[in-house]
Amino acid sequence: MFGQLANVGTAAAGNKKQVGSRFDEEPPARRSLTALVPALLKSLACVCIATALLLALDRVLPSNLFTIVYLIPVVIAATRWGTWPAVAAALAGTAAVDFFFLPPVYTFNIDDPQDAIHLLLFLFVAIVSSNLASRLRNEKEALRQRETELQYLYEFSRRLAACFTIPDLIAAIQNYLTQTLGQQAVFFVAKADEQFETPNVGAVPGEVEERVASMIANIDLPAYTIFDQSTNSIWLLRAVHSEATVYGVIAVNIGAGSAAAIQTRTGRVEAILEEASLTLQRLDIGKAMDEAKLQLQAQLLKDALHGMLSHELRSPLAAIQGSASVLGTAPAIREDERLRSLTEAITDEVQKLDGFIQNLVNAARVTANNVEPRREWADPKDIVNAAVKLRLRRLAEHRVRISFDHDVPLINVDSALIEESLGQLLDNAAKYSPSGSVISVVARAESGQVVLSVSDQGVGITRDEQNQLGRRSFRSQRHLGTIPGSGLGFWIASTFVRANDGAIEISSRGEGLGTTASITLPASSEVSNLTLANE
């Protein structure tokens, strides 16, 4: 799909290392003198310090250590300031050895030919080690830079995943480009009618916008460079596209400066732009946009559901249930078993409907990525009891057995969400197991975690079904015609549990052999130490 750009991309990826070394490890000769002079002075200062120390040492304890000691400034200079300062340190060291320590001292002459060989050997070793050390330093720097880039990239993909709306998405892309490039970067997003969204970041020259429009309209214009005379700056433009669609154009302000500086910056920006457009494709910008739109719609739907469903539907339900409950207290009805069962049926059905509404509201919440747990330390026993109690009548045809480990630790969760999830598992257990069978609910501690499990003696679950669980609206073919349901329950439950840093696991020994669903949540580690003084 991304054939055209992928080609460019592979080429770019292929010579990326080269590009990197061209710009990151520039030879110091080309580096500006202002950066080199202090480094040279510092390495010479190191040599001076070494000389002073050796002279002092020589007075107390004459030794032959000088050549080895002079290697120290060389290595320091190489690892900190690069090759040339290290070479300078090596030369200065050689001169100092000759001048201060080789007879005749305080001259640059050498009497003993062996000393001369000694000195040349030192110079050779010093230069080789300076080279090795500075190469090490360059590699370390390259690694660090790569790490920073990766970090940006990670941050970028994380932000993309959290993007809600298209403006969010654009902000994330721009932010990424500006951070990685260190220049003003703008991302123009293409719209359906060959138009583009005008980003609201700083001023962009009119000429750039015109060019962007033509690039979005015409897929054969993948890159362009513009010199803007009014601000005296250069803009690089690059299209992000697949074979058929242009998703947008990235524009980067390179600024002004000398021809050499501009060329350096252009090379660097181009290298990163290739990378960025590749990244955008890898992250599938088109899909991301669609998802952002979907999320926006889900958010709107959620808001609508929240307001309309929960209010407009629940109010009539409240009137129905309230009226039924008042009728139920009237002596004539209370004392007649048949009539009483009718008012109870009204209440049961209202509860069921209310459960459906809650499910829809929850589903909308999950779709809109709007599950933010409000955590508080809670007793797992309370959560289990509340979930069971709410479904007492729906579970009336089953024998529910609850058991707790002695001293189950507390858990730091949003109890409402966990209660809802456990309730979904209970509903499923009741739906998929015969009436009269046992549903057992257990809360136990297990290696620093708390496990809440619901086991039934029902239809069980096949391997194939297990793989599909957790998908929204998944319902097994086996039960489609026989057992009512929306397929939302388990999906909601697993999302709510995940939001609390937990996990749901479903296990079954096979078809017809019952199912066990377990919610695992991190437990409090400190609670066992939390002793209450018996005051």
Binding site: S310, H311, R314, S315, P316, L317, A318, A319, I320, Q321, G322, S323, S325, V326, T329, A330, T347, V350, Q351, D354, Q358, V361, R374, E376, W377, A378, D379, K381, D382, I383, N385, A386, I402, F404, L410, D414, S415, A416, E419, S524, E526, V527, L530, L532, N534, E535
Partner: protein, 233 residues
Amino acid sequence: MSKSVNVVLVIDDEPKIRRFLRAGYELHGFEVHEAENATEGLKVATFNAPDLIVLDLDLPDLHGGEVLERIRSWSNVPIIILSVESSEEQKVRLLTLGADDYVVKPFGMAELLARSEAALRRYFKSATESSVVVAGPLSVDLVTRSVSLNSHQVRLTRKEYRLMHILATHVGLVVTHDQLLKEIWTGNQRDNIQYLRILVRKLRQKIEADPNDPRLLITESGVGYRLQARPET
């Protein structure tokens, strides 16, 4: 309750809800006033001095929370909030603002009546009345500070009694975590709900028939605890 007939004011914009509330309350010997919006509700609350107010949160002219605050600025009359699906946070906020309890729609009349009676009992409790709070098999003597279960004395630690005492003075009504923490602990411990959870476990061991299935000391998830006035058996 000290009065022969209690007057309840229902503030709710849904006529059908007002209708069943009127029927439910009247069948239990209450006199009922109705108001369909906040303005009218505030007026009736001021001039008719009801003994109890049932207040819906979604009113057309003013949010129920605002109405609650206004009434609380001049009166301690018991107020029970009706709401459609409110978050725990919102419930806690309303209780902190001075609501006596809340009921979430849809609800049964029995539940609302139980809350109403608990709120009235607390409000009209006079000095001449007995200092003993009874909740099912449990009785708490607030003067002698003794607690008994099925007429057997129960020995509580100081903190356990503190908790028992606060819940007993609010019998039938919810008490927020915050309120309990502030009244039982001092210093840093006041913010640590874990202490409260553990204390509740210990108290349940002593007063519940089955501490794993509590019927007296009920957890209101995310909000607080309630000592059930008439526990289910």
